[in-house]
């Protein structure tokens, strides 16, 4: 099932103009960028312990990890242990869990060929990084109780989408039947309810801090990592990057619950994060 959207975002227009009229203006740009990714630190490589533990950690927090890029860190492993690791199997297992392995850091030189062969990128081990990133010490307390996913800052050499601040559209009033709210570039945040017959459209994520009873379409320009969140989920329709479901096809168990909708390999995924009763 797929919804077709004709995107009229200004950036697309500029892009087309540049091809049609001026051939010499660059249509792309390569840039390094600092961003936060999840780092998977491996401390042992024997498959009998590694894969069950991975399943336990990541499987438990599917919603949190879904589609998240993950960096594999081998700094704690000796060369012999690295040699025992099947990178292709590790990568495909991770993908099967809904996360996206992007590269390896801290690997021994001898392993680089095998890593590249598994379709993973190579990043230098960043020793200095640890002491610099002040934020790292804070999440560590949270880490203990939750997942071992560590948020670290890293300098990526690969071309990355620049994360220049795109303004979030915030609506404080109820969105009523017949009304449409459109965030053509960034996220859309509704600090109230969205009633049946209303429609939300956003290039990025959609957050509804109230009941979602209307239609919500996130990632309308094709961003499959966009998510939709609502405190009370009973939408007429939800769509992410064109994949959609109508109310009738929603699992009864997620109706009127706090729900996070994301797009996984098997289509739209609904994760119930709790339930919410609005104040009278």
């Amino acid at each position: 099932m797929s919804l077709l959207y004709v995107s009229l975002s200004p950036s697309r227009h500029e892009y087309m103009n540049s091809i049609n009229t001026t051939f010499d203006t660059p249509v792309l740009e390569l840039k390094g960028s600092i961003m936060t990714v999840i780092v998977l630190h491996l401390k042992a490589t024997d498959a009998g312990r590694l894969y069950p533990q991975l399943e336990q950690k990541i499987g438990k927090a599917q919603a949190f990890f879904r589609n998240a890029p993950v960096l594999i860190d081998l700094s704690d492993l000796g060369e012999a242990e690295q040699l025992a690791l099947d990178f292709t199997e590790l990568a495909s297992t991770l993908r099967g869990m809904g996360v996206v392995p992007v590269g390896v850091r801290g690997s021994a030189r001898s392993q680089n060929e095998r890593i590249l062969h598994a379709g993973l990128g190579l990043l230098p081990a960043v020793k200095a990084e640890r002491s610099v990133a002040a934020t790292e010490s804070q999440p560590s307390t949270i880490q203990d109780t939750t997942q071992e996913a560590e948020e670290a800052k890293l300098v990526a050499n690969a071309p990355q989408q620049t994360s220049s601040a795109i303004p979030t559209k915030v609506i404080t009033q109820p969105v009523r039947s017949g009304q449409q709210v459109f965030a053509p570039e960034g996220d859309l945040v509704i600090l109230s309810s969205v009633n049946a017959g209303a429609e939300l459209l956003a290039a990025g994520n959609i957050h509804v801090y109230g009941a979602l009873r209307g239609r919500a379409m996130a990632g309308i320009n094709g961003d499959a990592t966009a998510r939709i969140f609502s405190l009370q989920c009973n939408p007429e329709l939800v769509a992410i990057a064109g994949e959609y479901l109508v109310n009738e096809s929603l699992a009864p168990s997620c109706i009127n619950q706090c729900v996070l909708v994301s797009l996984g390999s098997k289509g739209l995924q609904f994760d119930v994060t709790g339930s919410f009763t609005p104040a009278p």
């Binding site: 009033q173 109820p174 009523r176 039947s177 017949g178 009304q179 109230s192 309810s193 009633n195 049946a196 017959g197 009941a211 009873r213 609005p278 009278p280």
Partner: protein, 283 residues
Amino acid sequence: MTEKLLHEHTEQTQAKVVVVTSGKGGVGKTTTSAAFASALAVRGYKTVVIDFDVGLRNLDLIMGCERRVVYDLLNVIHGEGSLNQALIKDKRVGNLYILPASQTRDNDALSIEGVGEVIAALRKNFEYIICDSPAGIEKGAMTAMYFADEALVVTNPEISSVRDSDRIIGMLASKTRRAEQNLPPVKEHLIITRYDPLRVTKGDMLSAGDVNEILAIPFLGVVPESKSVLAASNSGIPVTLADEGDAHEAYFDIVDRFLGEDKPFRFMDVPRKGIFSRLFGGR
């Protein structure tokens, strides 16, 4: 005494235009317009109620003045009769007037400018101008709400009615004079009519709480489903001028809350059965 009250009010307050609107048809707009206007007049305010339902007029029937209609709103707009000729004075309450709609034309004949002139003239002479909107979201309904300062959103406790009201509330915030001229927004009030607590407990109807949660505008109260409403309108008497009854009391509560009085909500729960109905099964 009424005269004295009237005088005091005129000194204090500016005229207010109140639209009675719903989106969906048949939910009780005309019943509410007639009852509300009459109750305001009983409370001493000089009030006129205008029928905007051109082509389907029936406010005059419910107000019991259908046999006294000479000129109507459209005649006034088109200069075929004066405003004073068109206004019908109620025979029961001193400061209540009706401006009927035309039965022979359709809504397209209503122009915003024309209605604006009529309302401007009425503002000089009345404290409350109640506009009974037609159903739908077409020109007639838009014209009826355009000049509103406040709105009574009339809803039945069922999904389709609530959704249409939701739509109308959105329009009050965007398609009215106040919205277009960046004035303070139209003040909205919710009235739930034909409310039957027994059917709510059975799950056949939405509860007042549900409706309030969805529409999220200030709540004036419920009007219970009542046989006396039909009886009153058949005899051309607004419920608030008819003999006592649930609906009669409910509408007076609503008007008093509208006027700023703090009254506990009534008629929201299933009435406790008396000894007789308990013995004989009641309904």
